[in-house]
């Protein structure tokens, strides 16, 4: 009985994740984006932890912890500093205007649910129904990367995508084997580190993080 209760919480968190993804899609200011990203991480960590507790999959605690440390504390903090330091919190009109993006987003969600339906039917986990949501988060993050024009927003989109992936892993199969989780986490960490270097390089070369400076390499 309690299982269902936890399950409801997890589902709630899943819905929250989806909501946050939409919010990020519509968020113009980068600071706000970073905050939302942190929240998303928190929701992810929480749901992972609950799943771990309710199903006794202990290794999930590690990944929950990793998520908490990396995506809720380390990276947002890092991004805050970055945004402040590079002073890039200006608003940029996305390529596609917000309402249209929203519409596309909804279509994507429906698509993702349909896609996930047959799979979640055969899944043995308690959290199967959330697989569709995870997939939706991934696609929405992808959409966000497409529509945004600043380097940082793209990276946040990228990380949001990873959140979605983690969530998928948890919900579909109580997470990946620990080694893999660790490896992935390591990669993400390194990735962000590399990005950091990058931002400064880009900044000092183009003195802006706007992607419109980076459209020189093409077929002319």
């Amino acid at each position: 009985m309690s299982l269902t209760y936890h399950l409801q919480v997890v589902n709630l968190l899943a819905a929250l994740l989806l909501l946050i993804s939409f919010a990020m899609l519509s968020q113009r200011r980068i600071i706000g984006l970073v905050t939302l990203f942190a929240w998303q991480g928190a929701a992810l960590a929480l749901s992972t932890a609950i799943v771990a507790w309710s199903t006794g999959q202990h290794h999930l605690y590690y990944s929950a912890g990793l998520t908490l440390i990396l995506k809720v504390i380390a990276m947002p903090w890092f991004f805050y500093r970055l945004v402040k330091k590079l002073d890039v919190d200006r608003e940029v009109e996305p390529m596609i205007n917000i309402p249209t993006t929203m519409l596309i987003g909804i279509v994507l969600v429906i698509f993702a649910f349909n896609l996930a339906l047959p799979i979640s039917q055969m899944s043995g986990t308690v959290t199967r129904s959330t697989l569709g949501i995870a997939m939706a988060c991934v696609l929405l993050a992808f959409l966000m990367m497409i529509t945004r024009r600043k380097a940082i927003t793209q990276v946040i989109g990228f990380l949001a995508m990873e959140n979605g992936l983690f969530f998928a892993a948890t919900s579909a199969s109580y997470g990946m084997p620990l080694v893999v989780e660790m490896g992935v986490a390591l990669d993400v960490l390194v990735g962000v580190f590399v990005l950091g270097i990058f931002f400064f390089q880009i900044r000092e070369t183009f003195d802006s993080l706007d992607l419109k400076h980076m459209e020189k390499l093409k077929e002319h």
């Binding site: 990228f158 990669d187 590399v194 070369t205 020189k216």
Partner: protein, 484 residues
């Protein structure tokens, strides 16, 4: 145990060079580590030849069979020759003031890490670790692409990072789905992602999941293979990075990515029992070949042009793997080898040529045969080889691929014919004036390191006329393994 050496040496090299990479002799140390890696790989290969496929580590973290062992050897070998080439090349770059000692340190250590990552990707038995190491390989090369810190190189690196990152994320999703399907058969836990275990039970894996998984894996790893239309990062990264990096990128990284795709294809084929995967790959391959051929036609930058030619050849290989069957798989594996050797040789020659002319624009490079005959002939022969003219080995594989295609899928051959024709006209038409003709440039001052070029071309030539039995044996086993 050799496997640990194979992985450990480059890793150690990476760390060592990260610490002491500013020293004067860093390039030599780099080459030395690569040499050691090559030796270790050779020993490993010998062991496999002697004892056949083997699993190493706990529940078998590493798995070496005839498919990946020759890729390991190839990787180690090309890595070594590239290190040899980059030794004088990077020195000259430094003299030209395009680099400083610190960047060289970064270059050398990332180079070793990159090699380590690729070797890990090749040898690991765990699809998850495979993903991790692919990502690691990407991360290791991102900063190499932007080594010159020019706006262009930064842009290229950025695109490389984002596109491959997104791609690799898809691959991760695919891996998750794979695991999801696997754990129901193998139970959860580490072993459920071991390729050998999966291969054992592939018939019972859930088809609907696996076909989704394959889509994600194909799109993900396909991005790194450079399949059209996911290829857009590739020409930029090749053109803007330092030449040795271009050489290893198109000579090795693309192979490794394709290796990952193939490992998943085996599983999917087993599960689905139809040739959905094969058809998808054929489609991608054909599209890449044609698109690349027509894009080659409009290039002005020599490295960019050869980057596109890499896309073309990867497309051809993918197409061949997609056709399946012992002959086609054999041909594809052969073509992988030939392309790595030839293309890296070409990049070596091109590197010296561009360094000489001070530009990568082909209009600026003329009459190499006068300024430096060896570079000229190296480039000319390399180009002829990559264009699939016998007696070079690329022709051998193209021969098999095209004849098989004509026999199995005649509808595809007009496209191949068209693409090959256009590619030939474009590349040869652009290279010929670079090599032949008059020029004002003075003769090359320093002695270029052309040994690698001619070693590679010599190998390619030999393999075109004679493939040693044991090598052929590998190919055959691998072709069997990949199913046909």
């Amino acid at each position: 145990m050799e496997i640990y050496w194979v992985l450990g040496i480059p890793l150690a090299g990476g760390i060592f060079l990260a610490l002491w990479g500013c020293r004067k002799h860093a390039p030599e140390i780099n080459a030395l580590f690569s040499l050691l890696t090559l030796v270790a790989a050779a020993v490993l290969t010998a062991r496999i030849v002697a004892e056949g496929p083997m699993m190493v580590g706990g529940e078998g973290w590493f798995f070496i069979d005839s498919f990946n062992v020759f890729l390991v050897t190839l990787t180690a070998f090309v890595a070594f020759t590239t290190a040899l080439f980059s030794r004088p090349y990077m020195r000259i770059e430094q003299e030209h003031g395009r680099l400083n000692a610190h960047r060289l340190r970064l270059y050398h250590s990332s180079y070793q890490i990159f090699i380590a990552a690729m070797l890990l990707a090749l040898t690991t038995n765990n699809m998850g670790i495979l993903w991790v190491s692919m990502e690691a390989a990407t991360l290791a090369t991102v900063l190499l692409v932007s080594l010159y810190r020019t706006p262009a190189s930064l842009e290229a690196a950025w695109k490389y990072f984002i596109l491959c990152g997104v791609g690799i994320a898809q691959a991760l999703f695919g891996t998750i789905l794979l695991y999801f399907a696997a754990e129901k058969v193998l139970g959860s836990g580490g072993t459920a992602l071991l390729w050998t275990h999966l291969n054992g039970v592939k018939a019972q894996l859930e088809p609907t999941v696996l076909q989704l998984a394959f889509v994600f894996l194909l799109v993900g790893y396909g991005t790194k293979v450079g399949l059209a239309p996911l290829h857009n990062w590739l020409p930029d990264a090749h053109a803007e990075g330092p030449t040795p990096v271009s050489a290893v990128l198109s000579g090795l990284l693309l192979n490794v990515a394709l290796y990952a795709v193939m490992r998943s294809k085996v599983l999917v084929d087993g599960a689905l029992g139809n040739d959905m995967a094969g058809n998808l790959m054929m489609g991608f391959g054909l599209l890449s070949v044609v698109l690349a051929a027509f894009l080659i036609k409009r290039q002005t930058d020599v490295k960019r042009m050869f980057a596109y030619s890499s896309i073309e050849h990867m497309g051809l290989i993918t197409f061949a793997f997609g056709m399946g069957g012992p002959v086609a798989n054999f041909a594809a594996l052969l073509h992988m080898t030939m392309h790595s050797l030839t293309k890296s040789a070409i990049f070596f020659a091109v590197g010296h040529a561009t360094q000489k002319a001070g530009t990568q624009l082909m209009d600026g490079i003329r009459g190499l045969i006068k300024t430096n005959p060896t570079i000229g002939w190296g480039l000319m022969l390399g180009t002829i080889a990559i264009l699939g003219v016998p007696p070079f080995g690329v022709f051998a594989s193209e021969f098999l691929i095209i004849t098989t295609a004509m026999h199995e899928h005649p509808w595809a051959t007009p496209f191949l014919l068209l693409a090959l024709g256009v590619a030939f006209a474009s590349i040869f038409g652009k290279v010929q004036p670079m090599v032949f003709g008059e020029t004002e440039l003075p003769r090359l001052s320093h002695q270029p390191a052309l040994a690698p070029v001619f070693i590679h071309l010599g190998l390619v030539l030999m393999l075109g006329l004679f493939i040693p039995p044991y090598l052929a044996g590998w190919y055959k086993q691998a072709a069997q393994l990949l199913g046909g």
